[in-house]
Amino acid sequence: MNLASPPILQRQQSGQPQSAAVSAEDTSFSFRTTTWQADGFGFDATSGEFFTASPTALVVMQCLAAKMSTVQILDRLTSTFDVPRRTAERDLESFLAELTTLGLQD
């Protein structure tokens, strides 16, 4: 698993085709100002920007929305996906940095 590699979380530019929808079991949820759908489509009502995210990225943002700790998020990831904890740890760190770059996380 590589949480951070594109197109795990991708800002959609005008005129850019959508990446294939990803499946996820959970329903929609809000993380910061963005509302995420179960198919990985996110819309930020304050900025008008929209994004697509992979199932793993969705799980992480769901955990962040629920104010889970890094340890709890890693537990969730390793129990949900077939990934070594060390790899998940590295990818999570990278993904959180990406969220900050996109303005989706402080």
């Binding site: 009502a45 304050t46 900025s47 900050t100 303005g103």
Partner: protein, 374 residues
């Protein structure tokens, strides 16, 4: 005043740089299908004159602004001998100044209009935005008004070379080389007159806010969008409704400071980054070409402007458009008839007569062909 008022609208060309008039007409007919609407045009090939859905009931040519104010008022009086319109909704930047400067000329003719005060109109002039923004604690790109090529290059150098060269009323070109800058300067000077504006380039997403001010510092209704699609010269060709309290607060602060009366459009750029602030690019003193989009979302600002101008009780409260709704422009070919063009060209007017009362909801109109009126 007529019991059923007649509304005059300008700016009817929906070309590459669409003018707002046809969108205003479309919005008015959504809620007041019985209104008689006349179009005032500067060119007989303004596309809105030939539309099945947005065309005015009658159209009259106006002299170009270069003909002078006397010619303008004389022509308006001549038009009113044929069509005694009650409300004027000016939709072009260049025609705003003389109307705002002399509102009594409209009043004495019995014409109502939602116009800002001269003081507010001047305060939002492109060259005076820094002063306004300082008073309202709003960010704005550095802008310098120039009257010669030497000052142009000097200002551009101070902003890092890549700058917007803007016309006094309209149009902007992004330039990166001295040659391009100079070419843009002469174009803006010839087209819009002096001064030409040189503006620092700020990269980021563009946001626009359309609304109506009540003249006492309040916004009666508004809608904010992020530009999704832009033409090669930066005009919005698609936009997504957003709802950001920060943007609403900036807009409210500007309109309160100006005590703006009537339609407006605020244009912002927001640089990338979570802490970025909205940066005011300009304030347009009229409806923009996308003004019919909010009307489809229960925020009919042109209808509200007519109600305000006539002193009517608002039909219903203006609602906030739902974030996520978006518009995309779609160019189509329309069929015109040479008889319409001939009538407008030779007599300066084109009168259409509906055979049936207009149905609510913009159903296709049945019209007789144009008739000449001597």
């Amino acid at each position: 005043m007529n019991s059923s008022p007649t509304i005059a609208v300008t700016g009817l060309h929906r070309g590459e740089n669409p003018q707002p008039g046809s969108a205003v007409i479309r919005s008015l007919r959504r809620v007041y299908p019985e209104l008689r609407i006349i179009g005032l045009c500067y060119d007989t090939l303004e596309s809105g004159l030939y539309s099945e859905e947005d065309a005015p009931d009658a159209a009259f040519t106006l002299p170009y602004p270069s003909a002078g104010l006397e010619a303008f008022w004389d022509r308006l009086d001549a038009i009113r001998e044929v069509e005694r319109f009650d409300v004027l909704i000016p939709c072009l930047d260049a025609e705003m100044a003389p109307l705002v400067e002399s509102p009594e000329k409209l009043r004495e003719r019995g014409i109502s209009a939602c116009l800002p005060s001269w003081k507010a109109f001047e305060a939002r002039d492109k060259s005076k935005l820094p002063d306004l923004c300082e008073r309202t604690h709003c960010r704005t790109p550095q802008t310098v008004a120039v009257n010669d090529v030497s000052s142009l290059h000097q200002a551009a150098a101070g902003f890092g070379g890549s700058v917007f060269v803007k016309g006094r009323y309209y149009e902007a070109q992004l330039t990166s080389t001295p040659a391009a800058r100079e070419s843009a300067y002469w174009h803006m000077l010839e087209t819009w007159g002096a001064p030409v504006l040189v503006q620092e380039r700020i990269e980021g997403e563009e946001y626009n806010v359309i609304g109506i001010g009540d003249g006492r510092g309040h916004i009666l209704g508004s809608c904010a969008i992020r530009k999704m699609l832009r033409t090669s010269n930066g005009k919005g060709f698609g936009g997504m409704v957003v709802r950001d309290p920060q943007l609403d607060a900036v807009a409210q602060s500007l309109i309160a400071e100006l005590r703006w009366n009537g339609p407006f459009e605020l244009e912002f750029v927001k640089p990338d980054g979570p802490k970025a602030e909205y940066c005011l690019i300009e304030i347009n003193p009229r409806f923009p070409a996308w003004c019919d989009f909010p009307s489809t979302l229960n925020c009919n600002l042109p209808a509200a402007a007519v109600e305000l101008a006539l002193g009517w009780q608002p039909r219903e409260p203006l609602r906030h458009a739902t974030p996520g709704k978006f518009f995309i422009r779609h160019a189509i070919d329309m069929t015109g008839d040479i008889r319409d063009l001939a009538a407008l060209t030779t007599t300066g007017q084109l009168i259409r007569q509906s055979e049936e009362p207009r149905a609510k909801g913009r159903e296709p109109q049945t019209r007789s062909s144009a008739s000449h009126v001597a």
